[in-house]
């Protein structure tokens, strides 16, 4: 396996605030790797350490096998796309894009060649002499991308570059970014707080909270098998049902809820989860940053795992509840149901005409399989 980035135990604090706490991770060559977490979780700090803009307090970073200690940004094989893009306002599109090549003293004809090929990749032909202020948000985005890609970095560092775009443009830029990344094969290290963005684009995601990585793996492993409440809650929607007791019967956990509900969960769920393909082992303690270990465990299930039924089902978790709200979202319909034994439950069903005439305050039956859902501990 060829690791282009190896970060080992990197730490950084600002005054008394520990921004990054002994974080280790590796990125393979050609990978689209995302650091995902809420603002202030230390993800941008890690990116800036990799770019050479700040020095870590402890730990080592190596890029392409070389220790990066003390090496300034201009002598690193990294290029950064800044959150505010940082396009040079006093230069036109062409001057912005070729800036890096000029600093590397490329001959004029090489510069022209490289410029033409990068303009093609980011689809900006004909915009060379435009001022930056004359471009739309998406075009500025592509200029920033081109300016960084033209120097052929080993790793492209992206610091929430899509955050300033409106939703529609953001979604289309996500597709474009992913496509460009596939085409040129450069390793992308992407920082974002938008879980949708990370899920759609990444090959691997590291979920961060309070300066530590709390889970790493492929997007589907992160979504389907969160290891802790933070990841489960941060990524997608879900039902969190507090459990007051856990008993084991044969190959089944029996979970009791506060309101005397009983949930069956197959005992191999967790093993299944940890061995999920694409799950990366994290060195160091697994921690969600939550200190209170005495808190009750929680049963977690995604809204789309819950099915609605009209007749009782055997060998399934079956409950009834009253519909409190119906939210129509086009392709999906979200229901908020209150169950006497489970409390509030979110259910998401496809808009396939299977719910004729469902109204608020109707009673309904819902169920899920014994293997679905996860028992999360803090």
């Amino acid at each position: 396996m060829n690791y282009i980035v190896c970060a080992e135990d990197i730490s950084k604090s600002y005054g008394s605030i520990l921004a990054v706490d002994k974080v280790s991770f590796t990125v393979r060559e050609g990978e689209f790797f995302s650091l995902l977490g809420p603002s202030g979780c230390g993800k941008t700090t890690i990116l800036r350490i990799l770019g050479g803009f700040i020095e870590q307090d402890g730990g080592t970073v190596s890029i392409d096998g070389k220790d990066m200690k003390g090496i300034p940004p201009n002598r690193r094989d990294t290029a950064m796309v800044f959150q505010n893009l940082a396009l040079f306002p006093h230069m036109d599109v062409r001057e912005n894009i070729v800036y890096g090549l000029r600093k590397r003293k490329f001959p004029a004809d090489r510069i022209r060649e490289e410029l033409n090929s990068i303009l093609e990749i980011v689809d900006l032909k004909g915009f060379e002499t435009r001022r930056i202020s004359e471009l739309s948000g998406g075009q500025q985005q592509r200029v920033a991308l081109a300016r960084s890609l033209i120097v052929k970095p080993k790793i492209l560092l992206l610091d929430e570059p899509l955050a300033s775009l409106d939703k529609k443009l953001r979604v289309s830029m996500q597709g474009e970014l992913k496509e460009i990344q596939k085409r040129i094969g450069t390793t992308f290290l992407y920082v974002t707080h938008d879980q949708g963005e990370a899920l759609t684009m990444s090959d691997n995601i590291a979920v961060m909270n309070k300066g530590v990585i709390i889970q790493m793996g492929t997007p589907d492993s992160i979504y389907n098998c969160p290891w802790n409440i933070f990841t489960a809650d941060f990524i997608g929607a879900g039902n969190f049902i507090p459990v007051i007791s856990v008993e084991k019967e044969n190959h089944m956990f029996v979970l009791k809820t506060e309101d005397r509900g009983r949930i069956f969960l197959r005992d191999d769920f967790k093993k299944d989860c940890r061995d999920f393909p694409g799950v990366k082992k994290i060195q160091g303690p697994e921690s969600s940053g939550v200190k209170d270990k005495t808190a009750l465990p929680v049963f977690f299930i995604r809204p789309e795992k819950i099915k609605i039924t009209t007749k009782p089902q055997r060998n399934k978790n079956l409950f009834n509840g009253k519909v409190k709200a119906i939210i129509f979202e086009g392709p999906d319909i979200r229901l908020e149901v209150v169950s006497n034994t489970l409390g509030k439950i979110k259910i998401e069903v496809k808009n396939d005409g299977s719910l004729p005439g469902l109204k608020e305050n109707d009673n309904l039956l819902f169920h899920w399989d014994y293997i679905d859902g996860i028992l999360l501990e803090y």
Partner: protein
């Protein structure tokens, strides 16, 4: 905002009246004096003439003074840029106490500038602070004569107008996003290269504004050359002042005033054309 504006249009009249009485009226008096040969006396008709202006260009003496004034103002501007850049850079980029330090920088302005100029006399005179210090340090054997020369005028002007350069420069440096400099370094520029490519180029707007604030007043200055200068450092301002207060030839003084104003405006227009905002942010077609 627009509601406030549209509903209170009448509020503009006091302002206009003020401008008329204290700005337009005196200015027109000067303009009339400049193109007539005698004092304005009620009941007498005006005789239009260009002779006042002709004198300025006929006498070599005046031309020398004009060129000298331009030279001194130019040097004042250059040195004020050199001295203020590090200060402005430090204030904008290297300290958190910039707001406080700017107030400190402005403290001298609370003291009348004539008094501050007389203070320079004490520093520069033959047994002043500067000479005493140099003698004590054994840099020189006998006192040097700095006072009453172009050098002392230049020192006085630089001292007086450098803060005028610091402020716009500070403002323009403050506006430059640090990520631009980081992006430049990230793309392969050394720290020094990044400074000249990004910080310096984008701060030209501040230098431009500061230059106007320094050069124009320096060109018209008369108190500093009068107090610190000698016979070789008479400036346009001194001539004008002389015509009004000693010679009593208001017509010629007004003509010189108008000539100085026209020269200043022409220089500003020419200067904006070459170094203005447009040229900093425009597309240059060189790859």
């Amino acid at each position: 905002m627009s509601v406030i504006k549209s509903k209170n249009k009448n509020l503009i009249y006091p302002g206009l009246l003020w401008l008329f009485i204290f700005f337009l009226l005196p200015l027109s008096v000067i303009l009339i004096y400049a193109v007539t040969a005698h004092d304005l006396v009620p009941g007498e008709s005006l005789k239009f003439t260009f002779s006042n202006f002709a004198v300025i260009f006929q006498k070599k003496h005046y031309l020398i003074i004009l060129l000298r004034s331009l030279k001194i103002s130019f040097l004042t501007t250059i040195f004020s840029i050199i001295f203020s850049y590090p200060v402005a850079y430090f204030l904008a980029k290297r300290t958190k106490f910039d707001k406080v330090l700017i107030v400190v920088l402005m403290i001298p302005f609370w003291i009348n500038y004539l008094i501050r100029t007389f203070a320079w006399k004490l520093i520069l005179s033959e047994n002043g602070v500067l000479n005493q210090l140099l003698l004590w340090l054994k840099v020189i054997d006998e006192p040097v004569r700095v006072l009453y020369s172009q050098t002392s005028v230049l020192l006085g002007l630089i001292y007086m107008y450098t803060p005028m350069m610091v402020l716009p420069l500070y403002a323009s440096l403050l506006r430059i996003d640090n990520s631009l400099v980081e992006a430049s370094q990230d793309l392969g520029a050394s720290r020094i290269r990044a400074f000249f490519d990004i910080t310096f180029k984008l701060s030209l707007t501040g230098i431009f504004a500061g230059t106007l604030l320094v050069f124009i007043p320096a060109l018209g200055s008369f108190a500093i050359p009068a107090i610190l200068g000698g016979t070789d450092s008479v400036m346009i301002g001194n001539i004008i002042e002389n015509q009004f207060s000693r010679v009593g030839n208001w017509n010629f003084g007004s003509a010189f005033t108008v000539a100085l104003a026209v020269l200043s405006i022409a220089l500003v227009l020419f200067y904006s054309k070459i170094f203005g905002l447009e040229s900093i942010y425009k597309n240059k077609g060189n790859t």
